[in-house]
Structure formats: C-alpha cells, structure tokens
C-alpha cells in the first residue's frame, strides 16, 4: 500500500481509482490494527502516511478523491477505540492541516463530508485530546474556528453540525485556561454577536412573514421560521446549560442587550416610534414567551423579566433599579475570576477589534463579518460592554449599561422624543449594522452619533411608568379579538413558571407564582382575567378556547394559595356571573337531540384528556396569524374561532365546562356530576358479578376474526356485558366484555334470524378520529325468539341509557325537564309531573355509594367482601321480574311501586326504564340528588355493617315478595319467557342490596340520635354544595321525610305500604302509577 502511495504521489485521471481504493484499504487496515495489532500504527506513523494524504489533497485532486479521503478519515476517527491510537493519529498536527485545508465548499457533498469530519473530531474531544487541536503557542483552534464559519450556512444540516461542534468544544472540561481564554476573547464575542444577529434577522423575517400574510398563505414558511427560532433558543439554552461562566456572561450580555431588549421588548411599546427595526407586538410577545419557556438561565431570564415587569427603572430611582438589574448579571460576574489585567473599555475594544481584524484577514471565507461585527461592537458602545473588565472598570461599565437601559425605557415610554430615537437607534445598531454589511464608512458615522446619544442619555431621566407591563396588561383586552391576549397570557404563564426568574420579582408585582403561599393577588390581573372569561361566555365572543383555558389556569394560580382560595367576594361574584352567562349560552344551543349527548361527552373527554400545554401552544406557528374561524386551515379547534353551529355548540359546551370547573375549584367543591359516566361506576372486564336472578341470554359470540365463544348476554343500566359462569360459585359470572350501550349498534343478520350483529365503538377523545370498534361480533342465539328478545332489550337499553344521560345534562343546565321524547314506557308523564325528587335521588344514591370506599366498595368484584349481607338480599330484588311478565309496562312500574316503598335504590338499578320515567317527573333539581348522594355516602358506612342484625326485619317485606312470586330461581330458560320490553336486569346486586339494607336500617331501625346525625350530615352536604337556597331547603325537607319517616308519619307505615304495593304488582301501569303518586304526595307536603 505504502508503495502504491509513494508511486502515485500525483493524482492523475488514471490512478484515481487506484488511489481511492488504496486509501480505503489503509483505513481498513488501520482500524483492524486498532482493534488487533498496534504495530500497524507504528508503521503508519513511521511512514508518515498522513503527509501523503495531505499531499493528495493539495493537488486539487477533484472531488472524487476528496470525498473518499474525508470519508475515510471519518471512518478512521470514528472507529478508533484506543486512546493511544487516537493520539498517534492526532499527533504531528496533520489533522489540523487537513482541517484548514481549503476545500471547495461550494460543493455540497464535500461540504457535508467535511463538516461531518469536523463533527466526528469534535466528538473525540476531551481533556487530553484537546491539546492536539488547540495550539497554545500559535493560539489557534482550527477545529473550532473553522467550524463556526459555517454557523449560518444555508444548509440546515450543516448548521446543526456546527452547533454540535461548538457544544462539544464548550463541553470540554474547563481546566484548560488558555483555551477558554482563547474561546472567550477571540471567538466568543464575534461568534455570539453574529449568532445573535443571525437569530435577529430570522426574527425579522418571521415578523415580515406575519405582517405580509394574507389568508394564512405563509403558514408553512412561518412554521419553519418559528421552528428555527425554537432551535436557536434550544441551542442557546444548551450552551447556557453547559454552564461555562465565561461564555454565559458574554452570551447573556449579547442576548439581552442586542436581541431581547432592543428587538423584542422595545417592540412591545413603540411600534410607531422607530422605523422598521421593530417587530409586531404580538410577534414579540410570542417570542418572549418562547424565551421564558425554554431558557431558564437565571441571570438572563431574570434580567429580562425585570425589564418587562419593572420597566420603571427610571421612575423612582433609576440608579438602584439599574443596579439590581445589573447585579443579577454581575453576581455571576463576581464569581468569576478576573484574571485579565484591568484595562479600559476603549482599549479592550480596540484590542479585540485588532484581533478580529487579523482573524478576518486570515479567513477569507468568513464573509467579512468579523469586521462589521467589530464595528458593531464599537458602535454598540455601552450596550455591548462585553469585556470582562477589572473592578474599577466595572462601575464605569455598569453605568454605561444603565444609561443605555434608561435610554431605552425612556424611549419606550415615549417620554421624550430624543429617548425614543435612542431606543430606535439601539435596535438599529444591532440590526442595521449587520444587515448593511458593506457600508463600513457609514458605520463609523454611526459610531459617533451613538456616542453622542449615549452622552445625551445621561441627562436626567424623565418620568417613567411601567410601559411594558402596562402594555402587557392592556393587551389582555379581548373586546375585538384575543390575538394579543393569548400571547400575553402565555408570557405571564411562562414568566411565572420560569425557574430562572426570581420569585421576589414576581411577588412584588403580586404576579402568580405557582405553588406558593400568599395572601394577596394582583387585582389588575385578576380583573382582566375575569373580564376575559365573561367575554368568552358571551354569544359571538371572539375569545378562543385556548385563551380561556389559559386565563382559567392563571386565575387559579393567582388566587389559590395552598388549599384555600383567597379570591375576593366581588371577584368571585363576577366569576359566578361569567359562569352563569356560559350556562345561558349553552342553553341556547341545547336541543333535545341525541347528538348533543355525544358532543357533550366528547368535549368533556377531550378537555380532560388533553389539557392545554403552553409549551406546545407556543411551538405552533399558526397562532401567530390573526385568529380565524375556518377549520379549512387545519388549525386546532381550541386555537381558532368556531365555525358553524356545531362548532359553536362545542365551544359553548367547553366554555361551560371550564368555567364550571373553575368556579367549583375556587369554591373548594368537588365535581360531582361530570363526567356523566365515570369509569369507576362501570362494570369492567374480569369483574365477578352475582347474576342470580339476572336476565341472561345465552349466545354464541363470533367475533370478526372468527373466534367463537359461548357467553351470556346481560344488560345493565348503562352497559351490556358478556359473562361466562364463574366456576366456584353458582350463579355468579365473570365479565369477559363490557361496553356502553349508548355507543352500540345492533342490527340483524340477513340470512340468519337467530343472529345479531353488534358493534360497540370506543368513545374517542378525538371527534375526528375514526371510531374504533371495541367489539364487533355476531351474536348467535338459540332461536329467533331469544334473538328478538335480546335485540329489543339492547335497543331499549340503548335508548334508555341515552335518555337518562340527557336528563342529567338537562339537570346540569338547570333546564326545565322537557316532556320525554321517548315514550318508551308508555307512562302518562303528566300525571306525575309533581316535583318529587325521590327516584332521582335514589338513583344518585346508588351511584354515589359505589364510589364511596366506605360503602363496602360494592362494585361487583368486591362483592364477596360483604358476604351474606349481600347475598341474602340480592335475591329479593330480582323477584319482580318474573312476576311482571304479563305486561311490559306493569313490570316496570310494578317494581317501581314496590321499590319505592321498600328499597328505593333498587329502582334505579333494577329498572332503568322506570328510572327514565321517573327522571321525567323529576324536577330540575339535581341538587336533591346531590345531597342524597352525600347522604348515601354516610349511611352505609356508618350504619350498614354495624347494624347487620337489624336487617332481618327490614328484609321481611322482600321475602314475602319472594314467596309471592314463587319463581326466584331464575334459570336462563325461565328468562326467555320474559317479555322483551322488560327492563334489563343485570345487577350490581350487592351494591344495591347493601345500600338498600343500610337505607332500611337507617329509615326504620336506627336509634333516633343516629338518624339525626345522618340528617345533620346531609344538611352539611347540602350546605356545602352551595346550592341555591331554594333547592337547599327542598333537599332538607325531602331528606327529612325520607330518612326519618317517624317524624311525620307513624313509624310502621312504611312496611305496610310495602305489602300493599307488592300486591299491586300485577296491576296495570296506570294503577301503579297512582300508587306512586299516593306515596309521593305525602312527602311533598
């Protein structure tokens, strides 16, 4: 090989392939040597192979060889695993020669290989190897300096590689002082200032993009620019995280004084004062939010926040304030070691300019930026004050900076024309300089004028307010649109969540600091937030959902301190007003349509499953464009205005949810009514149920992929489930599948009268997503009768489940109950229109109780935890079913009547049909139900298990029922005799029976005192609930009547009533209804 190379020292067309092949083989051998035999390296070194490589390169051998060589080197360096081999390769400085070799960088392939080569090398950097790259004597660090030339290369991958290289360089442990100094003194300033300019020019382009946008056409470009800005911020943050103090100071200074303050912050207040160097306030708010969300470096963000929030530096005592701002930066500065000899600001500038000049000359392809940036720095004067001067020079330095800041703010406030010009100038000198790179002569002029201005700025500061903060607050106004408001909210959120921002700073302004105790809050802010909310609740409001959600978030942050809420009554009242408004708004959209239920639940799901993520929101470029209504833009629903009735409805629902949950949370109340179905209330797969006396239909389930299984179909209030027998206990079943009735589709199978096709869709949180079926199967029954029964039962169950939920929405909206659209049960609705809250309450009760852990966790699975207790009574509950066989309506009402008197809770569970009916009769006071829910919680826990013996008398009536019915052993066969319309009976038996038991005991057998306790509890619940007085009293009345019948009626009355009822069981519906009424009416008095 070696010989081949020696022979072919000159590259010609003929030997090109040979050469390439040789180089390749050498690499391969070298790597093999690295992994196996070190003598290979000795030979390599001995013959000085690298010299050949270099020689080849210098011959302008054409890209083919170049690329191969670079790739070879790449491979070589990457695959070397031994440190010593690496040292061999790096010694002799050949690698550096290759680095500085002038490749043809216009060739994108060479460029890519070259930069990857540098990257590979940078990955090999460590404390030892750095010596091979950084030459202390010549003060040269080719790898780094060559790399940063490409920091603004048009090719993004190259830029990324450059960033990687710089980060790798900065990461090298810091015990090489010389190198650090080199980086800081010679490269940091030019690099960072250029970088900052690069970012700045991107920002200006971005702004232009926003301004010139028509009809959202620029969105693609805009999102790229935004992503680019984010990349930059992340990059800056990565540098800052490396926490190399030297670098951080320089970088912080540049960022603050050249980009964030002049371009972003000043743009907030003075869109008209300066010509073009400003960006739109909304753009700057947006970008600032990003800054605060991404960068957490304390000195930087704190100083920035201070300027934004306390832009009053000049008002009271500019000196002190200026100092405080400055100190934040100085504090870190104080920590660092001032090794450099103190030199004057001018001199250091001169010096570095000189150095940079040299550098610029040395590197022609640096695009001559070095020079400008130098001048820029000179022009920047006080603002730039980068050099780490000595102590004495520090004061001077800081004063200058102070002045400049004052100047800027003054300009911002628009106090004096001169000042405003100055601020314009500050921005200008940052941007202008770099934008008009060639006009060096002009720059010197600028230099002078700026100095003049700096001098002028020393004059006494005019009156100042907090222009930035004022701007921020005033932008919260959403009367016309919430374009600005959204960004302001994000900014406030970002600032308050930034780890780098001093909490004192925020607290002084009473800004919301998360997770902190406090006793007061910013009235201005809260009032504005509430105004946003009430505006959001108006019809035709221009407030987007994201804005509303964010303001809710901030409000919570402001007024919730620990566990308690410090909101003032007047604000709370306003908030309640807004909530009320949202309720009214939603009512306008409420129509008894079925789809409303789906929307309602969908919205709730998507709201809870995807809470607003501010960071993601601020990554989305689409919010930068004026709010729009059309979904054709592809913008998320929450980030735009609604379009059409459906979306308006969705929006109204969301607004209602948000304000409701906010109001509940601020008042310290738990949400009790939403979501409409809670997963913990539902039967789950593998639950073990007591199915004695439940209606079960045997069927063969053939799923789509051909699996067959023998199952029993059972229908509950909300769900249908497929069970298989439990092996250990007779009559019990294990749930193999459970699905919501409301999401079910049942259809017959064409050529088989015994089969049904059933599809249950998964409730999806995304309404646009394709519904995902969780069950899709054919159910084959024994015969067509059973099939029809099943079909009807399922269909009715579905209607009833939906109907019940609709009723609950109605209650939630405080709407008067409409006459039921679904006359499923054939009840005369009007007859029972009297406002009896009873059934509903009981329904609630059973529901709530299942959630109460104290109530013996009566979900099916845990049934066995209350042995005997549960089993003994579930039997009784099912008895009505066979009894009521002759006529469907009577069965429903029959059980109702009975249950009403005995164990009302069974009604709800046992026969949803009845319940549906009862819901109709129920007055809109869901409050009753609520309070009862609470009552149920207390009762089973306190009295149920403890008073077990007392159960016996209570269960007597039901036992008598059993005997009457005579057929309590419900086999599957007997079930099929049931009329299909019979309400589905799948029973959480244990649950209901246990409750009913406890209820009974509560009603009849608990000693007086205990009853009173319970009542007290209930009242408390009611009171806490904060329901309107009116309903509250009814609650109390009703509960009193219910729980202590003895107070108003003779104690024994209940039980005879039961017996009476049971006899009436077979009577037609009307009659039972009457009974219902008669029972109800006394209580209504």
């Amino acid at each position: 090989m070696y010989h081949v190379l020696t022979k072919n020292t000159t590259v010609t067309d003929h030997n090109r392939n040979l050469l390439v092949e040789t180089i390749r083989s050498i690499t391969e051998i070298l790597i093999w040597g690295d992994q196996n035999d070190s003598s290979v390296f000795d030979f390599f070194l001995e013959k000085n192979m690298f010299a050949f490589f270099l020689n080849i390169l210098r011959q302008k051998s054409g890209r083919y060889v170049c690329v191969q060589l670079l790739q070879t080197l790449n491979i070589l360096f990457e695959n070397i695993s031994h440190e010593t081999s690496l040292y061999y390769l790096l010694s002799n400085n050949h690698v550096n020669s290759i680095i500085v070799h002038k490749f043809d960088f216009s060739d994108e392939e060479i460029m890519a290989y070259y930069i990857s080569f540098l990257k590979t090398l940078s990955l090999k950097l460590n404390n030892h190897t750095v010596h091979f790259f950084y030459n202390e004597h010549t003060n040269d660090f080719a790898l780094y300096t060559e790399a940063i030339k490409f920091f603004n290369h048009p090719e993004s991958m190259v830029r990324i590689a450059v960033r990687t290289i710089t980060l790798n360089v900065y990461k090298v442990p810091v015990d090489n002082q010389h190198m650090l100094h080199y980086i800081r003194d010679k490269t940091a300033v030019p690099y960072f200032s250029n970088l900052v300019w690069f970012i700045g020019s991107h920002v200006i382009e971005l702004d232009k993009c926003v301004q010139t946008d028509e009809e959202h056409k620029n969105r693609g470009k805009l999102s790229d620019l935004v992503a680019e800005h984010l990349d930059h911020l992340h990059y800056l943050n990565d540098i800052l995280i490396i926490n190399c103090e030297f670098l951080n100071d320089v970088l912080t200074d540049h960022l603050l004084n050249r980009l964030f303050l002049p371009l972003y912050v000043y743009s907030l207040v003075s869109p008209e004062t300066s010509e073009e160097r400003n960006i739109n306030p909304q753009v700057s708010l947006y970008l600032l939010s990003q800054v605060f969300l991404i960068i957490h470096y304390q000195p930087l963000v704190n100083a920035l926040a201070d300027v934004i929030l306390n832009g009053d530096l000049s008002v009271c005592t500019p000196q002190t304030d200026g100092h405080s701002t400055h100190k934040n930066m100085a504090s870190v500065g104080g920590l660092r070691r001032f090794i450099k000899p103190p030199e004057s600001l001018e001199r250091s500038l001169e010096m570095s300019r000189h150095r940079c000049r040299k550098r610029t000359q040395k590197r022609p392809n640096y695009k001559n930026l070095g020079e400008e940036e130098d001048d820029e720095r000179a022009a920047g004067g006080g603002g730039g004050s980068v050099e780490p001067g000595g102590e004495e020079n520090w004061d001077d330095n800081s004063r200058l900076r102070e002045r400049e800041k004052g100047k800027g703010i003054e300009g911002g406030g628009g106090g004096s024309s001169k000042g405003s010009r100055a601020s314009g100038e500050t921005a200008e000198e940052i941007e202008m300089v770099v934008m008009e790179k060639c006009k060096v002569s002009e720059l010197t002029e600028q230099n002078i004028t700026d100095e003049e201005k700096t001098a002028a700025a020393t004059r006494s500061h005019a009156q100042r307010s907090r222009p930035f903060l004022d701007m921020v607050y005033s932008a919260l106004d959403c009367t016309n649109d919430d374009y600005h408001a959204l960004f302001v909210l994000c900014l406030l959120y970002a600032v308050s969540h930034s780890k780098g921002v001093n909490k004192d700073l925020l607290e002084r302004l009473q800004l919301p600091v998360p997770d902190q105790e406090r006793s007061s809050y910013s009235l201005v802010l809260v009032e504005r937030l509430i105004r946003v909310m009430s505006q959001a609740a108006q019809p035709e409001s221009k407030v987007r959902l994201a804005t509303l959600e964010l303001s809710c978030l901030l409000l919570k942050q402001s007024v919730l301190s620990g566990d308690h809420c410090i909101i003032k009554d007047v604000h709370l009242a306003c908030l309640e007003g807004a909530r009320e408004e949202s309720l009214h708004l939603l009512r306008r959209f409420y129509k008894g349509e079925e789809i409303f239920l789906d929307m309602f639940e969908d919205e709730y799901r998507s709201m809870t499953s995807k809470p607003l993520n501010v960071e993601y929101l601020m990554m989305d470029a689409s919010v930068l464009l004026p709010p729009t209504g059309t979904p054709l833009t592809g913008i998320d629903f929450v980030k735009r205005l609604p379009c059409g009735d459906v979306e308006k409805t969705r929006r109204a629902i969301r607004v209602f949810f948000m304000l409701r949950s906010l109001s509940l949370q601020l008042q310290g109340e738990p949400e009790t009514q939403l979501p409409l179905t809670r997963s913990e209330d539902l039967i789950k797969t593998d639950d073990v149920l007591d199915l004695n006396n439940s209606d079960l239909i045997a069927c063969m389930v053939v799923s789509k992929d051909g699996c067959q299984a023998q199952r029993f179909l059972a229908v509950d209030v909300y769900q249908m489930s497929l069970v298989e027998p439990e092996t250990k206990r007779l009559g019990w079943g294990v749930v193999k599948f459970a699905g919501l009735l409301q999401d079910m589709q049942v259809s017959g199978v064409e050529d088989d009268s015994r089969a049904l096709n059933i599809i249950i869709h998964k409730p999806s949180s995304n309404p646009h997503a394709k519904p995902l079926p969780i069950l899709q199967a054919n159910f084959i029954f024994a015969d067509h009768i059973r099939c029809i029964i099943a079909k009807q039962r399922l269909a009715k169950g579905r209607i009833q489940a939906r109907h019940m939920k609709m009723q609950r929405i109605t209650a939630l909206l405080d709407l008067p109950v409409q006459p039921s659209a679904t006359e499923v049960l054939g009840f005369g609705q009007t007859a029972n229109a009297s406002p009896s809250a009873l059934p509903f309450r009981f329904y609630e009760q059973s529901r709530r109780a299942s959630n109460d852990p104290t109530a013996s966790r009566s979900v099916f699975a845990s049934v066995d935890k209350v042995p005997g207790f549960a089993v003994a009574h579930c039997v009784s509950q099912h008895s009505p079913s066979p009894l009521s066989s002759p006529s469907p309506p009577s069965s429903g009402s029959g059980s109702t009547g009975r249950c009403d008197s005995v164990t009302a809770s069974t009604i709800s569970a046992q026969s949803p049909a009845d319940e549906g009916a009862f819901l109709d009769h129920t007055p809109p006071s869901s409050s009753g139900a609520e309070a009862e829910g609470g009552a149920a919680d207390t009762m089973p826990g306190s009295s149920g298990p403890a008073l077990a013996p007392s159960l016996t008398p209570a269960s007597q009536p039901t036992i008598s029922l059993l005997t009457e019915s005579g057929s309590d052993s419900l086999s599957v066969e007997s079930l099929t005799l049931l009329p299909p319309a019979d309400s589905p009976h799948l029973h959480p038996c244990a649950r209901h029976s246990s409750i009913s038991q406890s209820l009974l005991t509560a009603e009849g057998f608990i000693p007086e005192e205990e009853e009173e306790d319970i009542m007290a509890d209930e009242r408390e619940e009611g009171g806490e609930g904060g329901w309107l007085d009116e309903t509250e009293t009814t609650v109390k009345e009703v509960t009193t009547e219910l729980v202590t019948p003895t107070e108003e009626e003779p104690g024994g009355q209940e039980i005879p009533a039961v017996k009476e009822q049971t006899k009436d069981q077979s009577l037609p519906a009307e009659q039972t209804e009457m009974h219902n009424e008669t029972i109800d009416s006394p209580e209504l008095d």
């Binding site: 391969e28 093999w32 790739q71 790449n74 990857s116 993004s156 991958m157 990349d231």
Partner: protein
C-alpha cells in the same frame, strides 16, 4: 452528480444496534467486513434511482449528540426520513422504540417517513425479538418494517430504498412541500428541466415497476 431530489435521512435508535454499520454498508459497500471488523460511519451519501430518477440520499447519524436537546430536535426536523433501528438480539433496544418514536413524532414534521429496522438478523441463534413483534409494532404505529443485517448486507439496500420510495410517493401525492428545504427534501440543481424529466419518468415507471 446531478440529481432530481435529495432526501435527508436520520438514523435513530439505541447505541450499539448497528446504526453506523448499516449506514456504511449502504453508502460504501466496498467495506466488506473481511477481517471481521465492525466499522461504522456517521455520515454518508449515495445516489439511487427510483422511477427512473436519480435521487440522492444523505444520511446523518445522530449518535453521540443525544445530550443536547437542541441538536436532536433540529436533526429530526430537517429530515424527510428516519430509520428507527433496534437490535433483534437485545430486547431492551426493542422496548425503547416507543420513546424514540415519541421523540421523533414530537420533533419531526408530520410527513416524515419512518422505517423500523430490526438489525443483526444474521444472529438468528441469539434472537430475542421475534419478527412478528417487530411487524406488530410497525403496524400499530404505521411504520414500514424490515429486518436487516449490516454484516451480511441483507436487506440493507432495500431498507434505504423502500424508505426513499415512500418519500417519493408522498412527493408525487403532493404531501411534501418540496420547495421547503426544511422538510429534508431538496430539489436537484438541474431541476428547471422538470417537464422533460417528468415525461421521461413515464417510461421509467415501467422499468421501476419491473425491478420491484
């Protein structure tokens, strides 16, 4: 070296799954592992032909840069395709796929084509992840799947080329905005002659169809 399109790829996956070896195998086949070496590389480019068009693939390995959030972020964003690699002999590399995928989906543009690759298929005896599992994962997440061996070069070409085909199809469908270089797609320098190449590609299509 004219090309119609340039596609930028990234390779992601746990360390040691053979990312850089795959890359080297694809870009420089001459490195046959005669000496039983494991050689890899972090960057490579190669020309392929799809549908009668010259397409240049530029592949960037992100290894070693995971510690910088900004870097990974940018890489993802600048790529049109990603090869997500795991090692079939190491279960943990398969288990980490979800994390990688989440990252990729979060940072990349939504059109990025992701190919799942189970590498080291030559080590059948030490296999820990079944091919079916890989297939299932890919199906679940909408990825293309393939098992490869960087050592025997089996399926390596196919992996890169199939990804390119997918991207190419997306371009034809107009899903990718090809004028936006941030997507990781670049139009070749000679592209003004689009019309002639397009008409030419009609003929080429048959040829392309024939070879696959």
């Amino acid at each position: 070296m004219a090309y119609a399109y340039l596609f930028k790829y990234i390779i992601i996956g746990d360390t040691g799954v053979g990312k850089s070896c795959l890359l080297l195998q694809f870009t420089d086949k001459r490195f046959q592992p005669v000496h039983d070496l494991t050689i890899g590389v972090e960057f490579g480019a190669r020309m392929i032909t799809i549908d009668g068009k010259q397409i240049k693939l530029q592949i960037w390995d992100t290894a070693g840069q995971e510690s910088f959030r900004s870097i990974t972020r940018s890489y993802y964003r600048g790529a049109a395709g990603a090869l997500l690699v795991y090692d079939i002999t190491r279960r943990d590399t398969f288990n980490h796929l979800t994390t990688w995928l989440e990252d990729a989906r979060q940072h990349s543009n939504s059109n990025m084509v992701i190919m799942l690759i189970g590498n080291k298929s030559d080590l059948e005896s030490r296999r820990e992840v079944k091919k079916e599992e890989g297939e299932a994962f890919a199906r679940e997440h909408g990825l293309i799947f393939m098992e490869t061996s960087a050592k025997t070069a089996s399926n390596v070409e196919e992996a890169f080329i199939n990804t390119a085909k997918e991207i190419y199809e997306k371009i034809q469908e107009g899903v990718f905005d090809i004028n936006n270089e941030a997507n990781g797609i670049k139009i070749g320098p000679q592209h003004p002659t689009t019309n002639s190449t397009l008409s030419g590609s009609q003929g080429g299509q048959h040829a392309g169809g024939g070879c696959c």
